[in-house]
Symmetry: C2
Subunit: 541 residues, 2 copies
Amino acid sequence: MTMTVHARKRILIVGGGFGGIYTAMRLQKAVKGRTDIDLALIDQKNYFVFQPLLPEVISGNIGIMHTVTPLRDLCPHVSLYIRKVENIDVEKREVVTSHDVRTQLHRIPYDHLVLALGTEENFSMVRGLPEHGLHFKNLGDALALRNRLILMMEAADSEPDIHVRRPMLTMVMAGGGFSGVEAIAEVNDFVRTIARRYAHLDASELRIVLLHSGTRILPELSESLSLYAQRLLDRRQVEIRLGVRLEAVTADEAILNDGTRIPTNTVIATIGAAPNPVLAALPCQKERGRIVVDATLAVPDYPGLWAVGDCAYLIDHKTGQPCPPTAQYAVSEGKCLADNILASLDGKARRPFSFSAVGMMGSLGHQSAVGDVFGLKISGRIAWFMWRTIYWMKLPGVWRKFYVAIDWFLNLIMPKDIVQLNVAPSESLTREHFEANEIIFRQGDLGDRVYIIIDGEVEVTREDEQGHETILARLKTNDCFGEMALIKDDVRNATIRTVTNLNTLTLPRSTFTTLFDHIPALRDSLEQLVEERERQLGELD
Amino acid sequence: MTMTVHARKRILIVGGGFGGIYTAMRLQKAVKGRTDIDLALIDQKNYFVFQPLLPEVISGNIGIMHTVTPLRDLCPHVSLYIRKVENIDVEKREVVTSHDVRTQLHRIPYDHLVLALGTEENFSMVRGLPEHGLHFKNLGDALALRNRLILMMEAADSEPDIHVRRPMLTMVMAGGGFSGVEAIAEVNDFVRTIARRYAHLDASELRIVLLHSGTRILPELSESLSLYAQRLLDRRQVEIRLGVRLEAVTADEAILNDGTRIPTNTVIATIGAAPNPVLAALPCQKERGRIVVDATLAVPDYPGLWAVGDCAYLIDHKTGQPCPPTAQYAVSEGKCLADNILASLDGKARRPFSFSAVGMMGSLGHQSAVGDVFGLKISGRIAWFMWRTIYWMKLPGVWRKFYVAIDWFLNLIMPKDIVQLNVAPSESLTREHFEANEIIFRQGDLGDRVYIIIDGEVEVTREDEQGHETILARLKTNDCFGEMALIKDDVRNATIRTVTNLNTLTLPRSTFTTLFDHIPALRDSLEQLVEERERQLGELD
């Protein structure tokens, strides 16, 4: 074997969001024709999501596939690995990855590594939010939300009981920043428009609520624009609640810190961010979960390691503040980072990051928007037109531009689509949260799942034919309930009410049956339990 | 309260496929303005799938949403219940339903009930097919298949090992009838077209196989058309294997009844049909799982009960044979059934079903088709043009027609989309099938799941640093393996090889961890097991 004296240098980017993609695109242009550099990018999904247009997926204004662009189209000269990053070994200079087809680990070596993994949402600071809250960050989230809205409209249309119907027709958004406001504006437009198609629905029962902990929504903008946005959303029947926070969420309620309880089956949140676990495991310095980088976006003490975008902690030398986690900054950082890696490879001086934000704009749905561009405050239909034009121009890839233009045009003439394309994974194991004094199920209900108590207490009661209620038992951590109806294939023979706040592990019928059939230890302990409970019931009769 | 002397009669249709929808559309037109009749329809999904265009969803020729139409658009004068049918009580004349939001059961009464529940696919006659086979029947199936194909192309592009890459690039279809042939033709077109976008993929490694048990594909057509289709697919590099059946399927192989083993990660099947479980539970007479109806589509001995489409067993008086389960028949039956229900209500005579099939056409992908229309045999581009025209005209709903026309037009000028929109539920509990003498995992592999043996035997072996292999144990029914790596968060410490054919229940890491943490009986028995195994390993060292 022969060896070349000057080995090719490999630049590896992990993450295909704004930061990663703009680094990759700048690099592929700069190294075109150079044979001494290899470019590679790892992401778990094979497409780039253009976040600013994501809210329009909710209402179907833009086709599902049109806010995303295949990575291969954006980076034709970059080797792509569509894989999951398991961990990063900064000593051996390797990224350990896996893919869905086989379980072997693949190690990808690098000379320069760009961390562009963004952040993950963290719902854990609100009771019940991890279990019942909907995210609004990725394409899958937008689709899941759209489907949830249609499901609720369908279910409410044929639901005679107002107490069951009310939470179906109430949608709550927690977080009044840009992404929360844009999403709830689209939700509001969408449900109010399609409500006309449901013959038995009374549109006046729809309730769309925006929660914000500050004194005005869109704190990123000037006060006058915030107030304009508030008035406009108010006119469109969005109920804005300022100075409140979500305190707890159950399947049927949102509970606020001022004690208000809003009956709702749909809580969306854009609050809370946590670092990607792969980054959390790295030995380098972190600040608020973000990787600390110097002014040239290099990670101190780890030559060849860089970070960009939301996962990087970079001080903006103009303001002395950390750069905000926005697409504008990520794009600009990516370009600077690409230049600096090349400067390092070529032994040249690196340049410090410098950027002036052009401004900010937010869509308010239904042909209106607000924004602050070059110091100019704009609002209404003109702002909306500018908003569309700017983002359309920034949308990467000529075909997407074309599709989105067609979508927007068709939108003007076509009715909204209400196909409920079920993409939400039908999870076979979930957690659920209940507040104290809630009914989990009633005697006579359909028995479709089993609950195992993680923490909290419930009371089991049974009503006889004369309507007398007897308390049968109190159950707590590690106890299970709901198994009788499944084992005996019957309706619920008792009512379960929470005594304290309660967290459960919930197994739907199919999962329960499979586990029950194939894990002897589980079957044995359950059969014992059922016997015991039947004896108790027998004594009662 | 006052009561009207003549109560309104409720006609209830269960199922929104071709049979159900055409019954409903005919009825809503006929009863317009009549106040003595209520129309209602129950389906779990809120849209109607136009099956003939489904194959084009695979390649993205038609947008995901454009082969389906919201039921509300087709049946604006029918009360819709988007719910699951739990069972039918023919004595009380009630349909018991549930929906996803709450667990209460809803009972919907009827005077006339139309059964239009179609059939379900049944993979159970081939070993491993239920676990590893892909369906091709509903919109979700078409999307899942499209995503699987893109996943395989992505994974293969960065896979250096030819033995791992080969099954990724091989797609097998079992069933050479219309739906199998149309689907595999689209699969073939799609993967060969997008292969060019993958820099490291060698298109000559792609292998697309069609299995058919008969002596020629498309047995519904004349021999000359079948042979034309075979030649054409052959020219397009589809490998056709006649006179063979699938015998078994594993995650990595398709095994045929002649002993051939095809390394593949993608097996699609259009074979096997089973009745809907709700129908199976009905007391009325059945034939091959279908509900026996008389010539007027009424179920004998159950006045007010009717059946239509694939779930009805109806003798065609012209041929003396049962009507085939095709869309053409279902549409025609639906119209006849609607007329007969109205005749019953109005005390008039019912008419027997009579129908002459117009013909049959099948698309072969890439601007070609074959067909037999009014006794005329056609093929090639002209047939394809006719095929598109006929189905486009039959597509219900004017907006869909418009969208599909746009899609087809854009298709001529735009590159294929390769966004892998992940809609396949990430199942947290699955079954897997392995044939004898397979490696399930190797020492040193990533440990990402636990297996519980349903039936069969495996051998556990370990290799020491000198490469000597020792057999540690044989495991059988109810034993579990793979838990060590998960509990200790390490790579696999042994190799597992199947001794016999093996079926397992498989729990991915997240499910396993959750169960392990919250079910004490399970945790105890596993901890005991781990201790025991560590002692064995300790003795060995």
